[in-house]
Structure formats: structure tokens, C-alpha cells
């Protein structure tokens, strides 16, 4: 094979990408020697748009930041605004929020399984896993009324209630899904052709993962024990805790195994939740004007830690909402794990971090030209020292 180097573009339009980004990969022959990435193609100005809408309208706007993790965004926002207003949602509402969050995790991981199988050229597994995803989509429609963008959250609680018929349907669906997930775990760890595309590819050691700041299942696949549901439980996770699932190898196969094993945890939590739903009301009263203040709120979205910063000026509209999605943390790890891999592994490595580019496109204005890492870090430290301990 010749060793001429040239720059290979992936994106903005490319069949490997579900959303646009621009990767410039320097290859010699088929081996990658350098990579850069450019994001921002799906920027929609959502953060600015939130400043012109009232608190209730923003719930639905922020839900549409991403289609796959829409409930996570809405829940984080609702939890943050409730914290600002000093209101706690009633236990039944928190339980239903957790239930829908776990159902969303199932749908997201099954979607990811199909997409990554498709990137590997394994269309049969793609079709099968999406067929089984229909079970959870139907359950989501039964419980919430919609397959995507469920809109169950309200400021102060939820708007849907769980009936006995839904509980029966959930049990049945989760049983079916558990059988299928067991089968997929076996396929992913034993199918010879598929293993050739995943074992030993895109390996990231724990030290690398730590210094790159990856979060979510990618970090857990490299041995880092990071999960917001365990580290800082929110909603109903302190009543129904989740076991952290980690793997040590840090390659693509480990990421598959972590996500599939997380599905088993989700099934267990859902079963316990629906068998022990607390009685009570669904919504607490929320004022239309939220008290002035700042808060941060973070939860474990299917892709990792989702982080919101919400500032209120005391009025009916927020002053500033900053959204930091997990893909933004994980995407730089792709550039590092790609080094010295084959060109053909790029789509697999990219999909291994479960990218959601429409989530992560934000604009940041940096005032003083170019900052070094030390300057940025010092700025953060000084900022919080000035604020005191108010968040």
C-alpha cells in the first residue's frame, strides 16, 4: 500500500454521521496520523431563544434540544428551576420522572446498538435491535402519549399518571426486552466478524479517559466510576439506587458491554419503581415568577452527565440558561483514540462515544482572545470563590 498522506474529510454530509460535523483526518495509506474536528453545524441559538420565553415555554423548547435525550433535558431544567424556586416536586412525580428517564435510557441504548451495528456493516443486527426498540417506543407512547419528546415534565411535577394497565404493559414489555438484550449481549461478545471490528479498537486507558475528561458509558468502559445517578442522586434515585456498571478494557467492545449491561440495570429499576410507586399528587404549585438566583443542575443522560446552569433575574423569563451536553466532553476523546487506527475504524470509534451533535452545538464568547488552559482554570476558580458557596 502506498504511504502518500492526504487529508480525508468526513462530513459535514456523510453517511457515517447522523448529524453534521466536520472531521479532517490525515491518513497515510489506511492509517490515521492526525485528526481535527469542527463542530457547530447544528447550532440553532436555543440558549438565546430561552431568554425570550417564559419559564413554562422553555420547558418545551429545551426538550427539543435533542430528540433522543429530550426527557433528560426537560428533567434537568425542571429540577433546576424547582431548586431556584425552593419547591420540591411530590414523590409520585419524582418517581414517574425517574421511570420515564430510565425508559428513555433503554430506547437510547437500543438505538445506539442499531446505529453502531450499521456503521460496522452489520445491517441485520441494526434491523433486529430497532425492531425490539419498537417495544419500548410503544410503551413510551402508552405511558406518556408520544414516542419522542414525551412532554411529561411540568415545573413542579409531571402531567401524566401511571395506571394499572400501564404497569401491566410495562412488566410485559420489560420482560420481552430483557430476553432480547441477553441475546444481544451474547451476539456482541461472541460474533466473530463483529468482534474483529470492535475488540481492541479505539482503546482508551483510564488515565487517558481521566485526562480527557470523558463521561458517561465511555468513561465507565475505561474503568472510571462516574455516574451522576450514583455520585449525586437526583429525583428518585436515592430510593431506588442504580449499580454502576464498569469495564476495564476501554475498547469498543467494552463500550458495547457497558451499555448493554446498563440496560439490565434499567430494567431492574423500572420493575421496582412500578411495583412501589408512591401515592400522592402529581404537581406542586409553582410561582410564575421564579426568585432571583443561580443554580446548577445535573443528571445522567443516556450519554453521560448533562449539566445546566440557570440564572433567574426574578421575572417570568430566565436571564441565562447554559446547557452543557455530554457529547461535548466526549468528542475530543475521539481525536485521541483515532490515532494509528485504520481509516475503516473511524465510524466505529465515532459512534462508540454515542455522539449527538445537535445536542452539543453551543456558542461561547471568549473575551480576551486566546486563553491558555491555566487561565481558563484560574478563571473558574476565581469565579466560584467570588460567588461563595451558593450553588
Amino acid at each position: 500500500m502506498n504511504t502518500q498522506t492526504f487529508v480525508f474529510p468526513i462530513g459535514p454530509q456523510h453517511p457515517a454521521l447522523k448529524e453534521p460535523c466536520h472531521l479532517e483526518i490525515t491518513v497515510s495509506g489506511e492509517i490515521i496520523s492526525d485528526a481535527t474536528i469542527r463542530l457547530g453545524y447544528a447550532h440553532r441559538g436555543i440558549e438565546k431563544a430561552t431568554e425570550g420565553r417564559n419559564w413554562t415555554q422553555n420547558l418545551y423548547l429545551l426538550e427539543r434540544v435533542c430528540g433522543i435525550c429530550s426527557h433528560s433535558h426537560a428533567m434537568t431544567y425542571a429540577l433546576g428551576v424547582e431548586a431556584l424556586a425552593g419547591v420540591t416536586a411530590p414523590p409520585r412525580a419524582q418517581a414517574i420522572r425517574t421511570l420515564v428517564a430510565e425508559m428513555e435510557r433503554i430506547h437510547s441504548h437500543l438505538l445506539w446498538l442499531g446505529v453502531s451495528a450499521h456503521e460496522a456493516g452489520f445491517d441485520t443486527l441494526f434491523m433486529y435491535s430497532w425492531r425490539d426498540r419498537e417495544i419500548i417506543m410503544h410503551l413510551l407512547e402508552t405511558v406518556t402519549g408520544n414516542r419522542v419528546n414525551y412532554s411529561v415534565n411540568l415545573l413542579g411535577g409531571v402531567k401524566v399518571d401511571i395506571t394499572d394497565a400501564m404497569i401491566r404493559a410495562l412488566h410485559e414489555g420489560v420482560d420481552q426486552l430483557e430476553a432480547r438484550t441477553t441475546h444481544y449481549l451474547e451476539v456482541v461478545t461472541s460474533d466473530a466478524a463483529f468482534l474483529q471490528r470492535t475488540r481492541g479498537i479505539g482503546t482508551m486507558s483510564s488515565e487517558q479517559a481521566f485526562s480527557l475528561g470523558v463521561i458517561g458509558p465511555v468513561a465507565r468502559a475505561s474503568g472510571l466510576a462516574r455516574d451522576v445517578r450514583v455520585d449525586a442522586p437526583y429525583a428518585f434515585y436515592d430510593e431506588f439506587p442504580v449499580q454502576m456498571v464498569t469495564e476495564q478494557t476501554g475498547d469498543l467492545e467494552a463500550r458495547f458491554v457497558v451499555r448493554l449491561k446498563e440496560l439490565f440495570e434499567s430494567y431492574r429499576v423500572i420493575r421496582e419503581l412500578i411495583d412501589h410507586l408512591p401515592a400522592g399528587e402529581l404537581q406542586a404549585r409553582m410561582p410564575r415568577r421564579i426568585k432571583a438566583g443561580e443554580t446548577i443542575s445535573r443528571i445522567e443522560a443516556p450519554r453521560g452527565e448533562l449539566f445546566y446552569f440557570i440564572r433567574s433575574g426574578g421575572g417570568e423569563t430566565p436571564e441565562r440558561i447554559k446547557v452543557r451536553t455530554p457529547t461535548l466532553c466526549n468528542i475530543s476523546s475521539v481525536l485521541v483514540t483515532m490515532m494509528n487506527q485504520h481509516l475503516a475504524d473511524i465510524p466505529m470509534i465515532l459512534v462508540g462515544v454515542d455522539p449527538c451533535f445537535s445536542c452539543n452545538d453551543r456558542a461561547v464568547a471568549v473575551n480576551d482572545g486566546r486563553w491558555t488552559w491555566q487561565q481558563l482554570r484560574q478563571y473558574g476558580i476565581d469565579y466560584y470563590r467570588r460567588k461563595g458557596d451558593s450553588c
Binding site: 500500500m1 502506498n2 492526504f6 487529508v7 480525508f8 474529510p9 456523510h14 453517511p15 457515517a16 489506511e30 451495528a117 450499521h118 456503521e119 460496522a120 456493516g121 452489520f122 445491517d123 441485520t124 443486527l125 434491523m127 433486529y128 425492531r131 460474533d191 466478524a193 463483529f194 474483529q196 471490528r197 485504520h342 481509516l343 475503516a344 475504524d345 473511524i346 465510524p347
Partner: protein, 301 residues
Amino acid sequence: MLTLLAMLVFPGGLFLIANSVAYEWVDRKVVARLQNRIGPRWFQPFADLLKLLTKEEVIPEGAHVAVFIILPVIALASALTAALTLPVAGLSPVYSYPGDLIVTVYLLSLLTLCLSIAGTNTNSQYGVIGAMRILTQLFAYEAPFLLALLGPAFLTGSWQINEVVAAHGGQWLLFAQPIGFVIAVLSLMGKVELSPFDAPEAETEVVAGALTEYSGRGLALFLLGKKVVLLVGLLLIAALYMGGIANPLDYIVKTLLLLLIITVIQALLARLRIDQTVGVWWHYGVLGIFIQWLWLLVQGT
């Protein structure tokens, strides 16, 4: 006059095109059913072909225009010509002469070469990488393919397809030379770039490989050429390894059986990376065909 009709309509030309379109439908329908979905209706591949023929052909900047336009035509023509030496449905081949087995195989490879030249002719990196991969894969499967097809010919002592088929009567050589049969089928999958050997046109890596910049008529002719190569390959393997093709029913049954095997393998496996493809062929493919030929030589003496 009759020869001209045979070349252009039946059993050459139009018949081959119609048949390859029909088999494309069978392939897509069976893959869909294996994946638990419905699949396309019977006229879908024909409709796709027709649609492509009616679309505008965009010639990219920097490509050599004459080469760009002539390559698909040469590719399709070589694929159709390769079928002229094959006995189809009990009829004798249109053109049969000593050594036509080699010529047929090389005519099939001519399509692959046209594809790779087409890939390098464009200005896009996807085409160049696709072309590189096509040639790399050609080096992997071509030698085993040729040797596997020469297996039956060796026993007959002739390299003329017609004579090979006649010499074996209705005997199914795939039982006598199983390794050769398996290698022949798998290399046909490599030639037509079917999963798991579809690295050269991996949709998620190199968009469409060598064919990325093709559209409209050029793309239609290239895709048709690939389908005809699949059909010709099936005919070749059926003629040599499955006891010849005595009548139309025989023809349909044998080629459909081979197509079914190919379709199941296609749905079953993930795509192999190009270096893994080469590794598989040069470790197991060559070893297999080597053992097969050793056995043949021992048998022959």
C-alpha cells in the same frame, strides 16, 4: 443473423439484463425477509435503474471527461460479453473456443478494473480510497477465484467451458471438490462487493467508494454491470460445479440455490475491514485452494 439475435437478446444482452435485475430483486427481498421486514416490490430494481437513467449526469471538475463517460460502457459491455461463452438453459454458448474460461474470468475482472480507474479518475478522496480498496481486494480473491474455477477444468484437461461441462455430464462436482466450490462462491461475493467483503464500497466509511462521483447514466451502467457480473458468476459456478445447465428449470433452480446461499451469508456477517479481508483470503483462502489443488494433482496422477 441468429448469432446476432443470440448475442443481443437471448441468451445474451437483454435476457441477461432482465435476469440480473430479477435476481437483484430476489437478493433484496430475501435479505429483507431475513431481517424481519417486507422488502421491495418486484419492479423496484428495474424502477431504480430507469430512474437513474433519466437523471442528469454530473461530471466532476478535474475528471477526464472521455474516460469518465466511456468507463461505465466498457464495464457493462465486458460483463455482458463474459456471458457469451457460457451454456445457458441447455443451449450451446454463442461463442465457444479453447481457453475461453480464462477469457471469461478476465472479462469479469475488467469490470473491477474499470471501477478502480473510475475511482481514481475523480477528484474526491472517497473515490481514490475506494479504488485502492478495490484493487487490494482484487489481489486477495482473484487468484483463488481463478484456481477454484480451474479445478473442474483441470480434471477434464480442457480450458473450454463448453467442453468441461459436457465432459462431466450431470455430475455435481461440488461434492468432489467442496473446498473449490466454497472458495468460488466466496470470491464471487468478493468480486461483486457483497457483505462481508464490501469494504471498497462501505457506505459508512467511503460514501460509495469508487462510484461516489457517478450519477445518472454512468451510475446506472456501472450498477447494472455489477449485477450482470453476479449473474454471470452464478452461471459459471452452476455450470462448472453443479453439473451444467440442462434446461430452463435447471437453470432457475441451480442459480437461485446459489443466490440463496450468497444472500444468507450476506445477511449473517458484519463488514470486514480491508486488511482483515486480505488477511482472511491470504491465510484461509489460499490455504484452502492450495489443499484442493494438491488433492486434484494427487487424484490426477
